[in-house]
Subunit: 213 residues, 4 copies
């Protein structure tokens, strides 16, 4: 019957990456298949919308065996995470013209536009996936912290040193306040993020809610 022969190569370890005793040899990995899988996953997320992408559909679209996916990624969400890494390079850089307000406006607007584009469907799929898969959640958080929040915090830090920003500001909180509204609208809001929102947020963030003395 099925299952005879040498088995139990892998030990289940749900929330953690790869636990096979004989991991696949990465050097022999077929890069063509890898790219086809990432591409298919991205396309399908755009086409079908978040949460309707299946592993079988990815494999089929990529012209790949299902096992090839499971050999290299522990879950569908992990594939999505890899896709993300390839897609978001574009907006993770922070411009630096010397004018921090202008730079923030530039970059926040770019993010808002990204969240309005096709990419939004994919990103929502990934975040939904993360709610049920701790490894994906962690990967997403790390990606966000290192690739997105880091440069933003650095930019604010520089501005702070230049005196464009108050010295006693908690920069992490500042970054969250500036960008979280964009994520909020993406994930739970009725409206999509736009440049009007960016302007309003920047206005409040710069001058504060308190009336001027």
């Amino acid at each position: 019957m099925l299952g005879v022969g040498p088995r139990v190569k892998t030990i289940r370890l749900a929330s953690c990456y790869r636990a096979s005793v004989t991991p696949p040899n990465a050097e022999r990995r077929n890069q063509h298949s890898r790219r086809a899988i990432l591409r298919a996953a991205y396309e399908l997320a755009l086409e079908l919308g978040p949460a309707k992408v299946t592993v079988e559909a990815i494999a089929s679209r990529a012209g790949v065996g299902k096992q090839t996916i499971y050999r290299w990624w522990p879950s569908k969400g992990a594939v999505f995470l890899d896709v993300l890494e390839e897609q978001v390079g574009t907006v993770s850089e922070m411009p630096d013209t010397g004018d921090v307000v202008a730079d923030l406006k530039t970059q926040m607007t770019a993010v808002a536009e990204l969240f309005n584009a096709d990419f939004a469907r994919f990103y929502k799929a990934l975040i939904a996936e993360a709610q049920g898969d701790a490894a994906v959640a962690q990967g997403l958080a790390e990606q966000l912290a290192e690739r997105a929040e880091g440069p933003r915090r650095d930019r604010l830090s520089k501005a702070q040193q230049q005196g464009q920003i108050r010295a006693d500001i908690d920069l992490a909180a500042a970054v969250e306040m500036l960008y979280a509204p964009l994520y909020y609208r993406l994930l739970v809001g009725a409206a999509a993020p736009d440049s009007a929102q960016v302007s309003a947020v920047l206005d409040v963030a710069l001058h504060g809610l308190a009336p001027s003395r």
Copy 2:
């Protein structure tokens, strides 16, 4: 003999047309079952974590036929939305002591605590569900807009009239800036929201990033 002839496969629902059907008579609805279903859905979301709750488990836990769920809700997410409506009444009220900053701190801290409690797992399940179900997404957005953002905006509006807040502030943006960081951490951040975050956010929000003249 059997099985000869062309293999057939039925087409996915969506590609067949749909016809409306007499809706169930709401007056005869069994309120006991309704409550048992909402209760079971909430408990299971807490116990199993987001994305592992099944309709069958809800029905079984509630001592109810599956059809009774499908009769009254179009999807699992819709059940979650109804649960939400029953659960969040507690934090949707906005205190009004006359001191808007103190009130915000009180209420934001309450929300942060809620997002740290069991409720967080449930809320994440709901938001994940919303990514794949447009009706749930819309319901969630409406719930948020009407029950949560509305009172908050109203409170800020009153404070604005009292001169505690600048007159030229976009209140919707302000509310988003204050609360979005909490949602951001709940859904995508590495850390959970806490009172330190609340303090930092309020500090930035009140006095702004710009250095005092």
Copy 3:
């Protein structure tokens, strides 16, 4: 909120068009599973009686996924038909001692006994299934014609050539007359078939109703 909008109901499969799909690869079929399924179906038909056997019970008893049944058989009845094919070999052979009357008595008694044994419950289940499934009905008829009636007709034909049976007899009708009473009692009669019935039938069949000249 949720659930507003027109209630919808999906249309029954039959009214949607069907599309053929790649059939499974018969070479890779797991013979162990196949046998376990046939065995489980037979056992359950005996234990639970006709019409209480479910596909889920067969799959569970066989230690098999439901899909493995649906992959290889179009319906529960088709499984039963395959079981039949494996079970009835025993009584489909026709003895040939040279004395056609003795041979008929031997074989008809064997059939009567089969219809009194556990097998009867199974056979009734199959025939009931056939009433609602044209493919099963056809398969059953073919099985009967080829495996049962054929050899019987052949035996009578040989006897006819040997002068043991009138030359102008319609052999198909003769076979039906001899065996149909057994099926009749199995399916609709109050009493079960027995050797007394066999004797009575043979007596009438041999010498006819008409008084001797």
Copy 4:
């Protein structure tokens, strides 16, 4: 919840008719509903084919509440049995012209025609139902014995007394031999019964298989 209030009026007794402690008052029975139910059951059996008729469909077609069916019949099969009683009167009479062979041919041909007509679908539905419902099986057997076999046996008996049939014939077996082939073809045969079959059967039955001395 459901099920509070006075309950347990009826005791389940699967294989037996009616076991309510307070049976309904037959005098107050709505004869209009009764007829509508029988009529709907018959029509649906013809239209949908055997085994696809549901109680809900009968109730709906008859413009009747489901409970009205369950109040007066223990099962769907019992309804079918009642329908049968109304439908088969026509062919249960046995003609008596004095010529038993002619009479048999007349009546067997009538039965064969009935089994070719729409009625066949209904009758097959009933017999299929009987395989899974002992009460229906018993009712069917009784109906058959009393209404069909009885008159036929009586006719043969009379012919026997008149010397048209051998004195030492087992009349029950004779009746079975004559009519069982018709049922056989109806239920499991490939071909439908017809007048050619009737003639062939009568030929064999009258003169026997054995060669004339």
